[in-house]
């Protein structure tokens, strides 16, 4: 039932014989209301009747129907949703039907907190059997908006609580094929790699994930997502990360590429701060970039971190004050 049906077929509650025993309760906005909404008549009436059953705590099929009408008028009314849950429990309603209702209203309200929370509540009650359907549902949502935050949280909750991890990594791959810049997909990949009971955990997965991420970086070095993911794989231990020759190599390659190297330098800087000793190739690449820009002359070997900051101040000017601050927070051992 959507709002179009409500308009055309709607019979006012006052004309419905099954509601004749109920005295509607008007909203108590007081004599001097503020933020007044110019509700339509059907809204006022529906909510007046809702207040009546809510205050009487009537948990019957008719009050269940009433909550559906109220929800269609304002899906954000969390009080109605909560009361609906109480009724559903009391009446022991078949929750598969409830899920169908949710499917109907989801399309028009993809970012509504109450709807997603209600869905999670249903899924929890249905248990493991609901896993597949819920994953399918979020997939449909992602086909419209691949970054829908609620949908991603829901999908993660389903995986953690109801299982069904088998296809998750390949689903991430699908999303990457669509859009390698989809940060939600990268976040999901991290989630799967670290949490999936089928994969063995981060330590086991790290090596292949580094290969995968490096490929993504080389295809689009300006894409921030894989760079952050790379750090994540080493739990933000930038020094260990750069000690991996493949990582040092991709940084070098990106630097030599002549553009799109901000993220590479961001990573290198963190490693240098932690006393990472770069090899000659990487050092050479940094020096090449440095000398290509019009920057102060500097000969000291030990000031590499500082020179990286100078580069970043110049090529990433929106963050100039941040890079300036980073310069002042280089430990003396790294200088």
């Amino acid at each position: 039932m959507d709002s179009e049906d409500v308009k055309e077929n709607r019979v006012p509650f006052s004309n419905r014989s099954e509601w004749s025993d109920i005295k509607p309760v008007p909203q108590d906005d007081g004599p001097n209301p503020v933020v007044v909404i110019d509700y339509k008549d059907e809204f006022v009436e529906t909510m007046d009747y809702f207040r009546a059953v809510y205050m009487a705590d009537e948990r019957t099929p008719r009050s269940l129907d009433l909550t559906r009408e109220a929800i269609s008028l304002n899906p954000g009314n969390y009080t109605v949703w909560q009361f609906r849950r109480l009724i559903l429990e009391h009446l022991n309603v078949n929750l598969h039907e409830e899920l169908q209702f949710m499917d109907q209203i989801a399309t028009k309200n993809p970012k509504n907190y109450q709807i997603w929370h209600h869905r999670r509540w249903i899924a929890e009650k249905l248990g493991v059997g609901a896993a597949h359907k819920e994953l399918e549902f979020t997939r449909r949502v992602f086909s419209q908006d691949a970054k829908n935050y609620h949908a991603w949280s829901h999908r993660q909750w389903v995986l953690l609580n109801l299982g069904c991890w088998e296809d998750e990594l390949s689903y991430c791959d699908e999303l990457f094929n669509d859009d390698i810049c989809n940060n939600s997909a990268w976040n999901q990949r991290f989630f799967v790699v670290t949490k999936s009971p089928l994969l063995g955990g981060l330590d086991v997965m790290r090596d292949s994930e580094i290969m995968f991420t490096i490929k993504a970086i080389l295809a689009k070095p300006g894409n921030e997502s894989p760079w952050r993911y790379l750090r994540g794989l080493y739990q933000n231990d930038a020094k260990s990360l750069l000690n991996d020759p493949r990582v040092a190599s991709v940084c070098t390659e990106v630097l030599l590429g002549g553009s799109q190297y901000v993220h590479a330098l961001n990573l290198v800087l963190d490693a240098l701060i932690h006393q990472f000793q770069p090899g000659e190739d990487l050092k050479g690449a940094i020096e090449a970039v440095y000398s290509s820009l019009d920057l102060p002359d500097s000969t000291s070997d030990s000031e590499l971190a500082k020179r990286v900051c100078f580069i970043l101040e110049k090529v990433d000017p929106i963050r100039a004050s941040y890079w300036h601050w980073r310069k002042t927070t280089i430990p003396s051992q790294a200088l």
Partner: protein, 444 residues
């Protein structure tokens, strides 16, 4: 993020935004100076009129806001306060009365009269009442029952539920902690386990997510960070990584995005900007996490051009160890919000304040009201958070909240200057002060 090869959907959308934004910038900066200046003025009277109207009547389309009316009160009243203006006494009294009707006898405030209490609408109601200020407003808050409500919303996992039977996330944690703190009813029972929960929400990217495992997000980052500071547990977050993630959320447009590879949105001017402003007062904690001594001061209002460690004009020695709440002798969580705001802002602006001001003034400001980005419509929510973000920009370079910003810190005429906010609560500072005194006094 310029493409190698075929542009992805994310990149295409980003190009479209850059197109619109830089077209606006080119247009404005191509004008003669006198005509240009007009674009940088905040249209105060228009905004106040638009906001005040929102307090009286909204059309039937706003039925979907029927469960969020205290929010509208807050967005409007806070915006008006930021603009240094006010509403009539009658309107203020009407607001107090209305929120009183939203207050549940068992504690907390709902989205409207007769609705269940909800943490977000409670936060909005409390912040509104504090913004209105005055005895009548502040005494209308039943702190006893509110404490009970907050405790009932506490989940065994350490987080908070938004309402009875509602969702648990970092927003709920922040709204609960913020309200308890500003009303001086924050205690160990309320904060128990919340720090653990929020820590689990810091992601591999450095930002904070709504729930453990979810994506780092500007709104939740502000919520998580502010809550941790109020609980005196901010040192448990990885601050250098957090800072790095936030600063990379500012794009060449000048505005902030909410998540990596997503689009700029005016409201993040506050969520992300205030998060940085909060961190600028946490120098001791940050330096400790970096393993650096406190002796050097790095505060420089000269900005990037000056590579030396220049001292601020009036102070030579930073009073960090006394002011930083993590090192202070303050037991428990009393007055954390107060010690925080009294502490000096010892790290200089870490984001590009002029870039953000430019985006705000030229891309979000409408004839009346503010919006997400060009092409989107204005609303009260964006008006509130864009203005809040603008205030953050104005004060990002001042060490002490009591001192006015310099002319060169304000984009446009100096008359653009907004009121300062307390960045942990997002309430105008003077109003926060009044509430702090009121709720700390033994008689209250």
């Amino acid at each position: 993020m310029e493409g190698n090869g075929v542009a992805t959907k994310s990149e295409e959308e980003q190009f479209a935004v850059w197109n619109q934004v830089f077209r606006i910038y080119d247009l404005v900066f191509g004008l003669p100076p006198h005509a240009q200046a007009l674009h940088f003025e905040i249209r105060r009277d228009n905004h106040v009129e638009y906001l005040t109207r929102g307090l009286s009547q909204m059309g039937p389309g706003f039925s979907v806001m029927d469960a969020t009316r205290p929010w509208v009160c807050y967005w409007v009243m806070h915006s008006i306060a930021l603009l240094g203006d006010c509403v009539s006494d009658k309107l203020e009294n009407d607001i107090i009365d209305f929120l009183q009707r939203c207050q549940d006898p068992n504690g907390g405030y709902g989205g409207g009269p007769g609705q269940m209490p909800h943490l977000a609408t409670t936060y909005a109601a409390i912040n509104t009442l504090i913004t209105v200020g005055g005895i009548r407003s502040l005494t209308s808050i039943n702190r006893e029952t509110l404490y009970g409500f907050l405790l009932r919303m506490k989940d065994s996992g350490g987080g908070f539920r938004m309402h009875d039977g509602g969702e648990i996330d970092v927003r709920a944690c922040y709204t609960a902690i913020s309200v308890a703190s500003i009303l001086n009813i924050l205690d160990h029972r309320l904060i128990q386990g919340t720090g653990d929960y929020i820590m689990r929400c810091q992601t591999y990217e450095g930002g904070i997510a709504g729930e453990p495992g979810s994506e780092a997000h500007g709104g939740y980052t502000f919520c998580g960070l502010a809550a941790m500071v109020l609980m005196n547990e901010v040192n448990r977050l990885d601050l250098p990584q957090l800072i790095n993630w936030i600063v990379f959320r500012q794009g060449v447009e000048g505005g902030f995005q909410g998540r990596t590879n997503k689009l700029v949105d005016g409201c993040y001017s506050f969520w992300q900007g205030a998060a940085i402003a909060i961190i600028q007062r946490l120098r001791s904690t940050v330096m400790e996490q970096l393993g650096l001594p406190l002796s050097k001061t790095d505060f420089s209002q000269e900005g990037a051009a000056d590579s030396s460690n220049s001292d601020q004009e009036e102070h030579s020695e930073p009073e960090s160890s006394v002011n930083d709440i993590c090192q202070s002798e303050v037991a428990g969580v009393d007055h954390n919000g107060d010690s925080f705001i009294k502490a000096l802002q010892e790290i200089g602006p870490l984001f590009n304040t002029f870039g953000l001001q430019q985006y705000i003034l030229l891309c979000t400001q409408e004839e009346a009201g503010f919006r997400d980005k060009p092409g989107k419509s204005r609303d009260h929510y964006h008006t509130c958070y864009v203005l809040s973000g603008l205030s953050i920009c104005h004060y990002a370079g001042t060490r002490n909240i009591d001192r006015p910003p310099r002319t060169q810190d304000i984009m446009g005429p100096y008359s653009n200057l907004l009121e300062p906010v307390h960045p942990l609560y997002n309430v105008v500072f003077d109003k926060y002060q009044e509430a702090f005194r009121f709720f700390s006094s033994p008689e209250s």
